[in-house]
Amino acid sequence: MSLVPLPSVLLLACAWLALGVIGLARARSLTLVAKVLFPAGAAIGLAVAAVALMAIASPPTETVLPLGLPDLPFHFRLDSLSAFFLAILGLVSAGVSTFAAGYLRKGEGTPPGLQCLYYHVFLASMALVLVADDAYAFMVMWETMALSSFFLVTSDHRIAEIRRAGYLYLLIAHIGALSILLCFGVLQGGTGDYTFANMRAQSLPPFWATIGFLLALLGFGAKAGILPLHVWLPEAHPAAPSPVSALMSAVMLKTAVYGLLRVTFDLLHAQVWWWGVLALAIGLATALFGVVFSAVQSDMKRLLAYSSIENIGFIVVGFGLTVTFQAYEMRSLAALALTATLYHCLNHAYFKSLLFLATGSVLHATKERALGKLGGLIHKMPWVAWLALVGALAIAGLPPLNGFVSEWLLLQAFLFTPGLPDGYLNMFIPVAAAAVALAAALSGYVMVKFYGVIFLGQPREERLTEAHDAGPWERVGLVWLAAGCVTLGVVPVQVISLIDHVTGPLVGRTLAETATGSWLLLAPIETDRASYSPLVVLLGIVVATFAVWFAVRRVYHGRVRRAPAWDCGFPLQTPRMQDTAEGFGMPVRHVFEPFFRMTRELPSPFDRAPRYRVIVEDHLWHWCYLPVARWVERLTAIVAVLQRGRISVYLTYSFVTLLLLLLFVR
């Protein structure tokens, strides 16, 4: 085909921008924005995905555009790594945009046209971040992405809490951006040439390479939400409208992973084993922290946001493992770990956006975000409920859906670590595998809580009976994402053969070289060693279910009687007697008590209206952030002395500065 991938991607990004501009021109027209522009955006997303999937197997292409500052043109490059993440962006945004077409309402903060602008600028900037090939273009796009998402987060800007969340997000995004900028400064190696091509050509001494890596970890980690830079995530995700939360969680966090992979494997060649161990340790801490906190949340979007932290933790664990293997020249294991990492990026993009969109539908149907006031929605919203079940099972890492595949690959990478040369490291690996398994099992707990409390049981509030199911646009979006979860779970071999195009250039080995499976059987090393065939498992479960059902029907009459719930004969049953979100999280609060900073408010036995309250907070907030904030405040108090509020004083400052500068250059 004569279609050239890179220009098409640039054109498609421009098309997204154009949609945004059209939206801005007709800012008040909901029909145009919702029924034309967003579906068009979805189509563009599909096109991006198609181009990216074509480009993933082809050699890198480059181009230079004379945009920006006179002497600093934008360099763009599309290689397999960019293409892979572009494919995630395209595929997921297609579903999210379709959903958004049905989701937009009048009178929710920012007018629809403006939202359309931010939304499409956000999409376009993410696409351009992924193809940027010099630090300048990268930073411009990165900042555009941060700003447009900030405006999206604060689209309900009348609520003070949301403004606060947006502020926190912007703050940490900028700390991260600063760190990335410094990282590029280190990477260019004193040549003053900020193209990635030049950085690739540099071979930095280990000390500077380490500095560069640490800066990248900090900078991209702030965007991805690794510990302890995660605090913005549970604030910003719930504040944003659901399609935006979905995009942020599914794609924006992945751009940070992209950056990390780009810097570590593509731009920095010298790799030190302890980089990997550091990332591994941080990843484990992040995963455990995220899942434990998500188990105690009582706001459904916050719960999902913490679950995103957990999944980023898994991804960083895989990344760390890859770096360690790579540093020890164990290339096939590095390929395995990297495949697990990339696969999990893809999976997380799918199921997390699915669940965020489902919460969006619930939110619109019930006007309620607190888990404690939902319940029983499966009867009123069957579409959303059943599709969300797919997402919940997938994120819980259950076979035969997609979450399980990446967990399986990751555990395999852990398991077949044959004698790393370092004694301590060798023993750390099993412990790390155990922690991964624990976090994965906990995510099952979280998802039962999430799903059970929202969709199952009896409605906890009167007005939930008036809830309505999602509209057709929303259903299409949800079905698209749920289908992705199933497909990715069932045909891992085909997906991995795509991912192989990415792992090859990055770690110099692909799984295809060692794999022995067939199209049906995933066997990354040897069939003897480990194999998994999700399609057969799925068929096994489905066939067994139907066989049992059929057999039971044959031998048995099948009569069913409906009656009120028995509940061990308890006479009084009200919906309020079901477990609340707090109640369901209680075992986790109990078992992992040291993780939390809890304040409890217990009623006394004589209270007329007894009230139990528990506030669960993050230790890190009190240990890391508040001291820094206090310190900054103290510092600014000193600087504030300079603020006199009189023009003449300020003029004096300028005057003195001018004099000093004149003396200095003399």
Partner: protein, 221 residues
Amino acid sequence: MITAAFANQIINLFAAVMLLLAFAMLAQRRVLSLIDLFAMQGLVLTLSTGFVAYTTGQTHLWFSAGITFALKVVLLPWILYRLIRQLDVKWDVEGLINIPTTMLIGIVLVILSFNVALPISQIAGTITKGTLGIALASVLLAFLMMITRSKAVPQVIGFLAMENGLFFAATAATYGMPMVVELGIALDVLVGVVILGVFFFQIRERFDSLDIRHLEKLKEE
């Protein structure tokens, strides 16, 4: 005759059981079960000493196996049982740290002791790689148990378990200490327990409890 490789495997198995018992003691709340576990550890020690005696043909190890059995499987548990009956302290003891956390620290200790012991066992050559590490780990775990318990009896058991670890290191790693040293240590342990037993009565008379947190009051204000 037993091959060297097979002997190594058996010694490794004993070592693993020692470690398992050390962890079991760490996880055990009940004082009486703690004594049982201690006696079992003594039994394992006896068996492993006997096994080393059999494979190396060193007669004095037979004696030390006998002493171990008499002292650690019969005499000390009996004394401890009697003490507990007389003091009436057989209820559960809550640790200062919860059990899984204690075990997590224990795992870290195991990793640490293996890496510490690695160079030594490479020099020694007589033994399998991990035995010394496990012996050291048992000592450290017993120490940890002493730290995390707030009652006097479990602490004494921890002290005795520490000696078990040392003894295991001596037999499994270096095929035993000189007889005189061994007898001396055995006597020390016995005397130690007797003195501590007297101590218990003193503590209880003073505070009406064996909770050693009361001893904090004794410091100068």
